[in-house]
Amino acid sequence: MELCSFLTLDSFITDPLTHGFMRKALLMSSLVAAVCGFLSSYLTLKGWALMGDAVSHSVMPGVVVAYALGLPFSLGAFIFGVGSVALIGFIKQKSRIKEDTVIGLVFTGFFALGIVLVSKIKSNIDLHSILFGSPLGISLSDVKQTIFISLLVVILLSIFRKDLMLYCFDPRHAKTVGINVFFLHYLLLTCLSLAAVVGLQSVGIILVVAMLITPGATAYLLTDKFDNMTVISVLSAIISSLIGIYVSFWFDLETGGSIVLAQTFIFLFAFLFAPRYGIFKLKKLFAGYKL
């Protein structure tokens, strides 16, 4: 019976590891999750969830065009990701329309363009894998790209960790003491575009925004220290990826969806039971007992 085989935790974990594609999927998804989780703390604190959604959807036509031209898809995605942000800024400045409307307007436009392009270009683009991710079918060239981009983002975020924190917290002070706020703004946007690009391989364009905000939101409920928040965010993102992939393997579920659902469940757990900020406040629950 197959059901019996994962009754032992050992085989539940080790059996999938006998498949090469699973090892690759687990490794790459963890890497991607770590990158998105790292960035997630900044995006949550800066209030850029909608921006994350916008950028991740806007990369769609870039991916399609890059595939059609035989270029690295990350390049196309990056250009359109940053382009969408520039366009959002431009329309906001030149019209009376409110920012959230502009964001919604621009990213749906880009996304629609992507879908139309896919139907027109009719190459070997797999729309399903772009929209919903395909961590199990990731190619070798994609692996190289993903590793390169992930390292780049991690290095950039590590170098400017404190400046970015200051930028999210109090940009006015940053400017007053001569820190280049303009640079930090675009650095964060660049990292956002790059993270969206690698994240979409795991969970696809539609859900990649979850990778960019859910781990940060979970961590935010669990700590009052920024450094801890980053660590928790990265860890919860990695754990969700592992859980999602295993669950999708054993129960034959959509992998991207499983990863995001795992993140959502971890968030819900924090939301309900976080020691200080949870609904039930575990600390208070046990306050009468000596633990």
Binding site: L45, Q93, I159, K162, D163, M165, L166, C168, F169, D170, R172, H173, A174, K175, T176, V177, G178, I179, Y220, T223, D224, K225, F226, N228, M229
Partner: protein, 254 residues
């Protein structure tokens, strides 16, 4: 004819204008402050107080006019950490996961290396600053757990740690307890003796009379500027607040 030595002025703003996408927020505003002067910035909401601060710190660009800080450009004032900005409590995200120590350390960022690794001198400056605002017991407290007054003191400590010679304070007395108010007013006297220049915005007319040598009344532009005793008259205040009498605003003879 007497020539003006601009080096003598800490702040010298000449006919500055600021507009946001064609909407004028401030025009033809002038301000000159010397070392050791405390100036109150008074005006209605939307009269351009925050815009004035933003122009001095370089957070917004001026469309006309000239600003000199210690005789130099705003850009070099930023590089030299000359100006410290103390935001109003509403202006910051109090739920940000950051401790008192980390906020005050941000005052040193501008003079650190790119990784913002604190040196021994930075640590000392932060310690001293926190001691001066009497928050030594709260070094690692997240700012979300502080009272309004303690939070205000945290940002004052950041300005102290920065060792700025000019302090811009946005509503320093709003939402603070008596103890903090007393501590801030003592600090003002110390700052004055140290030769720092202070520009503070306030809604409270009593504080203007109490602390400010000079007062700048603005309503998109300068309504009146000068010694508090001469300029801070009911007539000027009424003009600044668009015709509403100070009696109505602050009660008779407050």
């Amino acid at each position: 004819m007497e020539t003006i030595n601009y080096q003598n002025f800490r702040i010298d703003a000449e006919n500055i204008c600021v507009d946001y996408n064609g909407k004028v927020a401030l025009y033809d505003a002038n301000l000159r402050l010397k070392p050791g002067q405390i100036c109150g910035l008074v005006g209605m909401n939307g009269a351009g107080k925050t815009t004035f601060f933003n122009a001095l710190t370089g957070f917004v660009n001026i469309s006309k006019g000239k600003i000199r800080i210690n005789g130099e450009s705003v850009r070099s004032a930023q590089k030299d950490q000359t100006i410290a900005y103390v935001p109003q409590n509403e202006g910051i995200d109090s739920q940000f996961p950051i401790s008192v120590w980390d906020v005050v350390m941000m005052g040193r960022y501008g003079s650190m290396n790119i990784f913002r690794c604190p040196r021994e001198s930075d640590v000392q400056a932060v310690k001293d600053a926190i001691e001066r605002v009497d928050l030594t017991d709260h070094l690692s407290t997240p700012i979300g757990n502080l009272s309004g007054g303690q939070r205000k003191r945290t940002f004052l400590a950041r300005a102290i740690a920065q060792r700025a010679s000019i302090l811009l304070l946005d509503e320093p007395f709003s939402g603070v307890d008596i103890r903090t108010e007393k501590l801030i007013s003592e600090l003002f006297i110390q700052f004055k003796n140290e030769g720092k220049t202070i520009l503070l915005s306030t809604h409270d007319m009593i504080h203007v009379r109490e602390f400010c040598d000079l007062v700048l009344l603005i309503n998109k532009t300068v309504v009146a500027y000068g010694e508090t005793s001469e300029v801070f008259t009911p007539e000027n205040i009424t003009t600044t607040f668009g015709g509403i009498s100070p009696d109505f605003l602050f009660g008779p003879e407050s």
